[in-house]
Symmetry: C3
Subunit: 256 residues, 3 copies
């Protein structure tokens, strides 16, 4: 039983299909991560081992963290950058096999850093899906100049095609900083008209919005609802985000 349960509604139970939270693990120690999940694991749906961080950690260390996260009914996965490096080095088969050996059941397919043709990306989504992975795919570029070349209609086309090809959810790139990328301007403020345009064309539940900063989280919760899917949440902000969703922090009290 939660404390002060008469002040707040019960949480939805996992596995959830909306109101998803995807958390970024940049390299937490095992014990620290476990201590954090004991207090906040209920509110984490996806856990991303950021970019290529797993490739500099011991196999056994990663496997134990994967098991630990799964014991909290969380879906861990490897940051898309590592997939891209495997693609670039023509080592996709080894990549998928290693991910499986480590216990990952979810895979992110992205092209944030390298150039992959649309058709090739779609093929990778299908391939991962056929191998039995849950697939998340990501739309957006990590480089500001490259990203600015991608107009909003292209983004929407990509989202639709990738969903059709088998992606469970499409992640909209915002990096760890949440600035100057995708729908965020240089100050990290959302571009309202682009958000509206996306929502007009895509089912809200198909998208996970990367929203690392609190003002962005507040924005999406107030605009779209408490059950919006949000990603790249810092491990320090898991509890804060859930209080925002439930109207338990000043920014959203009485508004959700």
């Amino acid at each position: 039983m939660k404390s002060f349960n008469f002040l707040s509604e019960d949480s939805t139970k996992k596995p959830r299909t909306n109101g998803l939270t995807m958390v970024l693990d940049k390299g937490l120690g095992y014990e620290t991560a476990e201590s954090l999940m004991k207090i906040s694991g209920d509110y984490v749906d996806y856990l991303k081992f950021g970019w290529g961080t797993t490739a500099i950690q011991e196999f056994d260390v990663v496997r134990e963290k994967v098991e630990m996260y799964k014991s909290f009914d969380i879906k861990p996965y490897v940051g898309g950058t590592l997939f891209e490096i495997a693609f670039m080095k023509s080592k996709l088969d080894e990549f998928f096999k290693e991910a499986s050996l480590l216990g990952f059941e979810t895979i992110e397919i992205s092209d944030g850093t390298i150039n992959i043709s649309e058709d090739e990306k779609i093929n990778c989504i299908k391939k991962a899906s056929n191998l039995g992975f849950n697939v998340l795919s990501e739309v957006g570029k990590k480089d500001l100049v490259e990203d600015s070349k991608l107009d909003i209609d292209s983004r929407i086309d990509l989202i639709k095609r990738e969903k059709e090809a088998g992606s469970e959810k499409i992640i909209l790139e915002a990096r760890e900083s949440g600035k100057s990328i995708g729908i965020f301007d240089d100050s990290g403020n959302p571009k309202e008209n682009e958000v509206d345009y996306i929502l007009k064309n895509i089912k809200k539940n198909d998208i996970i919005w990367e929203a690392p900063n609190k003002n962005q989280q507040v924005y999406f919760i107030l605009k779209i609802g408490s059950d919006v899917n949000l990603g790249n949440i810092s491990s320090e902000d898991i509890i804060s985000l859930e209080t925002l969703r439930k109207g338990l922090r000043g920014d959203t009290v009485g508004k959700v």
Copy 2:
């Protein structure tokens, strides 16, 4: 015995009546919090479970953290936002009872998010006090626009009335960000004339200044002294703040 004890004066012992440090816990895991207190608990007087974070944590988890903090002679309390939600939902009796069952002996009364008339707020302070709680009350609004409507003389009146009504200390709101609120401008710099005006009208020891950023902590220590009461200190900065107080960090070496 402290290491290098010949380079620094001994710390004051708790319970202290000035030089208080109030730390913000946004949702630390139990083991991580305990590990931190073992190294820095001597320098923490109040520990705030931020806003409504307790309402999404298990009763037993919160009670154990409360006990753990108390074992380090720290006074834990629940962020004022949760009191405000209880007030709004007409569940104050349940709120005070639950806080007591969880082991809290200190209560924060605030009106940062909702509208409570001055008289009602004073009544709440008295009520909590009569129930045997140590009361902290907070002056200031979390919303920038609402907060800007509160002029400095009104703030001073509120501080005086709340102190008279039984508040142990009055907290001056600055939120987690320390910007655009109360005595801080949009860059987080203190408005010197307002600080001076407050100090002219209120005993310095009656106030806890929320000062989450290092430059703000340095400012208050150099202006008011090492024994200034400071709040909303990030759990990561407990040790840093104490070194600032003791002249053991560049910013205050030879100046305190």
Copy 3:
């Protein structure tokens, strides 16, 4: 064996002579620090107990942390500010003795906060060296105004003299913030011409660049190479920095 080892080259083994990473510990709990080192200790060469933080921690607590870090083949040392305070209080002999009792084998000699003449600083480097310590020395002032008085040629002279006097490496000051100090402008961007001038006059391997922010780490890795020595790395960013060095994060994929 590392996971996904077919996507990344093996790490160099410690003790390394270049590609060094110096991490800042602002006061981590023992268990939290140990948990972090188990996952990332391979990538830490020097561990700085920041400024005077050790002087407010129990002797036994510090000694245990020193031993723990050394068990991971890391060289722990005390922030230079504490040396400066000892110098100011004419307690250098006690300072060196206490550092040794605590298990430190490396000492930082700096004059970031107080005025020490060049000759005196050189003497301190020699003294520490003669006592058997590995010496790191630091060039730069913590105060913006004081630091701006130090021109680039003076910095280079100091680096050369201190290296000759026995410093293992020379640290270039940037503080925890990385802004408005030394080679960084008010936004934390490196001044390219000053970096070039230093590199023209000093062996790159003699320097540890304090570079607390990610854009600074990316800058130095792309400009100087993956084996650049970097310092004041936040404990949260150890893994991230190593992925930047190895081309496993978007910013450096395919570029190192």
